[in-house]
Subunit: 486 residues, 2 copies
């Protein structure tokens, strides 16, 4: 076995352990009774620590030194590039810290669930503090000379810097605030959204719509969890406690993520070539289905009659389209419209930056959250479960993750624009519920490449230009000009 093959063999073990962690986390979110937590904590921590040991072994180090890089083809070179990057991110983080962070995450998620249910931020506070402290330590181990947020962010997006993100977010904010301002006074009656629909009917329709866009139930499943997510080889979840529309848009969003996971090249499973490019690209795959397609009128021309019939909705397609796209400040990020959504992200970005820099006191978090909320959205959450406690991300230690949501929406618009150029019938196809050509375009341009290219190169190859907010803002302007009288 040569150096490259041996490198891949070792790396695969650590990557497969990570995929096992996903099974454990899926199970914890969807199936596990909470009394099993003491056992699960030890399981998850052991898997994380073992993966870390393998990734940072002396043999791995030796191979990365000895491997003859000029003899690698471009696929192999990409694998070695990413393995080395991963090695460097882990090698200085002590095993005990990995284990402690993992245990804190597992317990943190359970405390978050309880805090959210009981609307008691104090229950979550000690875990939140500890997750941030340990994450800060990790960042410091990886690179003590760089801003810790930048270091953490690179777990999710290595190719778009904190400064670039800030610049994109600022551009987006500067366009959206006046746009939202122009819309503000025009109310759309959305009482339809509050209509009760039996859960069984909803489950049936959500399965149907996931399958209709191409979600593969032979490899995945659709379940219920407190926070919708995709994990464990493309299993998806949604939730039915925020109304029937939230469930549908959650399902379509997660199915988009899952189709990416299901189309990563299986022959490269466990190596970077079989892994997703970055979280912003991953998010673009959920957003393109959720927003550009799943909130378009064409899409519902095909599917609304069935929905209307099944859910007994007393409304016409035109009004339905306006209702699902109505713009209105709201408390819950995952329920927000495409415009105000980004303000939810900017708020989180600023807050987590303050926390990691030590400029924000954790005790103050609910107050700061609510103040910023009033400033950006003009409303104040009635309680913390509608405010600072709504998201699972910080409990899981996903610091630096939130910006990838807006980056994802931005990239989705850019991809959708490029796909429209390459597939002249795209809009018609969507209107007929035909998605083969689009899926095949996404496969050729995004899915099949795994992590071969970094985000910018991948998007340049797919769209001819670097990721930027241009197409996104144009898409939003046009869309909302059609819905509101602007």
């Amino acid at each position: 076995m040569d150096d490259y093959e041996r490198l891949i063999e070792i790396y695969k073990k650590s990557a497969i352990l990570e995929s096992v962690s996903e099974v454990l986390e899926w199970d914890q979110e969807v199936m596990m009774p909470e009394g099993a937590l003491p056992v699960r904590t030890q399981q998850s921590a052991t898997i994380a620590a073992l993966g870390h040991d393998i990734l940072t072994s002396d043999e791995m180090n030796g191979l990365l030194v000895s491997i003859e890089r000029e003899e690698l083809n471009s696929d192999q070179a990409a694998n070695v590039r990413e393995i080395e990057r991963n090695y460097k991110r882990h090698k200085n983080v002590p095993n005990g810290l990995v284990r402690e962070l993992q245990e804190t995450r597992i317990r943190g998620v359970e405390s978050w669930k309880e805090a959210r249910k009981k609307n008691d931020f104090g229950l979550f506070l000690p875990y939140l503090r500890k997750v941030f402290a340990l994450s800060g330590k990790v960042a410091d181990c990886i690179d003590p000379d760089r801003h810790p947020y930048e270091v953490l962010l690179e777990s999710y997006e290595q190719d778009i810097s904190r400064e670039e993100i800030k610049s994109h977010l600022t551009t987006i904010k500067e366009h959206l605030i006046p746009l939202i301002g122009r819309i503000k006074e025009q109310k759309i009656d959305d009482s339809l959204i509050a209509q009760d629909v039996a859960i069984e009917k909803q489950k049936e329709f959500n399965s149907f719509i996931a399958r209709a866009i191409g979600y593969d139930f032979t490899r995945g499943r659709l379940d219920v969890s407190a926070h919708p997510f995709t994990s464990c080889y493309g299993r998806i979840t949604t939730r039915y406690d925020n109304g029937w529309w939230s469930a549908i848009s959650g399902t379509i969003h997660e199915a988009g993520h899952a189709m990416y996971e299901h189309h990563l090249p299986l022959q490269h499973f466990g190596t970077p070539l079989g892994q997703y490019c970055s979280m912003s690209v991953h998010e673009s795959q959920s957003r393109i289905w959720e927003n550009n397609i799943g909130k378009s009128k064409h899409f519902w021309e095909k599917f609304f009659p069935k929905l209307q019939d099944s859910y007994d909705l007393d409304v016409e397609l035109d009004d339905f389209y306006k209702i699902i796209n109505r713009v209105e400040p709201s408390f819950i990020r995952t329920e927000a419209d495409e415009l105000t959504y980004n303000l939810h992200i900017i708020l989180r970005f600023e807050i987590e930056l303050g926390l990691i820099e030590g400029k924000t006191d954790f005790d103050d978090l609910p107050r700061i959250w609510n103040e910023k909320f009033r400033e950006y959205l003009g409303i104040v959450p009635p309680d913390d479960s509608f405010g600072v406690l709504q998201d699972i991300h910080w409990a899981w230690g996903n610091i630096g993750y939130f910006p990838t949501y807006t980056l994802g929406s931005m990239i989705a618009a850019q991809l959708f624009e490029a796909a429209q150029k390459d597939i002249p019938d795209l809009i018609d196809n969507i209107g007929q519920g035909k998605f083969e050509e689009l899926r095949s375009w996404l496969n050729d341009n995004i899915w099949c490449h795994g992590k071969k290219y970094l985000t910018k190169e991948l998007i340049r190859r797919a769209t001819g230009k670097d990721p930027s907010p241009d197409d996104y803002l144009e898409y939003l302007e046009n869309k909302y000009a059609g819905i509101y009288e602007l």
Copy 2:
């Protein structure tokens, strides 16, 4: 850290990996869509191989040599004894073989499911052949000088030898065949068993009865699988496709297993002191609840009114008791009565012995199965799904496992007899649905000890004598004399 602590630290990793395998296997049986198999196969094989690497590491070997045994207390000595035994069982098995066997098991289970569904033994045959071949190789690596069946059996029961098992099984067979003969002509009308009951009602009652005997839903769950099992920190399954009584008795059986798992001392999780004693003892914990309690008239004095009401059963308690205990040769082991059950086991014991010794041709298996079935039970399965394809065990590579079922029933009767002596009100308590005292007796005598004692010592301490068929046969004679006119 001293040698003992370091030994425990290392061993824990391998034991926790084994517990992670259980999560993966539970998920595969209960949740996983079959298209995820290529990924799951790699996950399970990687976990198995890593656990093996850790258990057989040079450091482990060194510690087992250097550890000062005379300084250990009795708990520590038991841990070291079992760790060393485990080390010796694994050290000569090459990693590649572990991985190959694990992959074959994972694929074997899926092929078994398909073969059973399609009633096509040929689909399963290549996997069955391979599982036995690889298991034989494993046995040969562990100890080439001993009978391979004896070596494999010791994965499940290290303290009762093949010869002892043979002797117990022969004693049992010699008593039961005439007993079954005396019963044979007395038919009990069991049409009640075929009565349709809505699955939702059944789920409700099964949850109720599990909870009633003490199953802890805060740590476990009750789901559905092709073959009822307990795994993954005491999660249980049952099945509803063999009628309502099969579901109930499966649930009670698995709840018995799970209560043992839930009461193993959590502070010793990942070490032998936190693990079950042996599969025969484990099985005694399911059988005592399933048979000695769950098929007794006292038990149903308490619970029959609720069952009768919920399932709308048109029968009196006396007849219900006779029906659930009727003796009649039948095809499916898990549905068999307490008497003929043991003939199902003896048949499997003989067949797997023939296969592992190379005396039986795999192609011939359906024929041999059916011939033995006719010989022991006087009936012939209508097809292989009611015959050789009915059990998952060989697909999972569990060779030498079946005898522990009869050993378990035997030990259960012995424990129940001893418990009756120690708890004068035991029978009355059961009649009132009160199980605290019995659970506490089981905890003190069995559950809390983990693997501190081997099977015989554990049972001697609990009952005052070695495991033997005496109490079991007396229990069966008395019970069936009361049901049939003998």
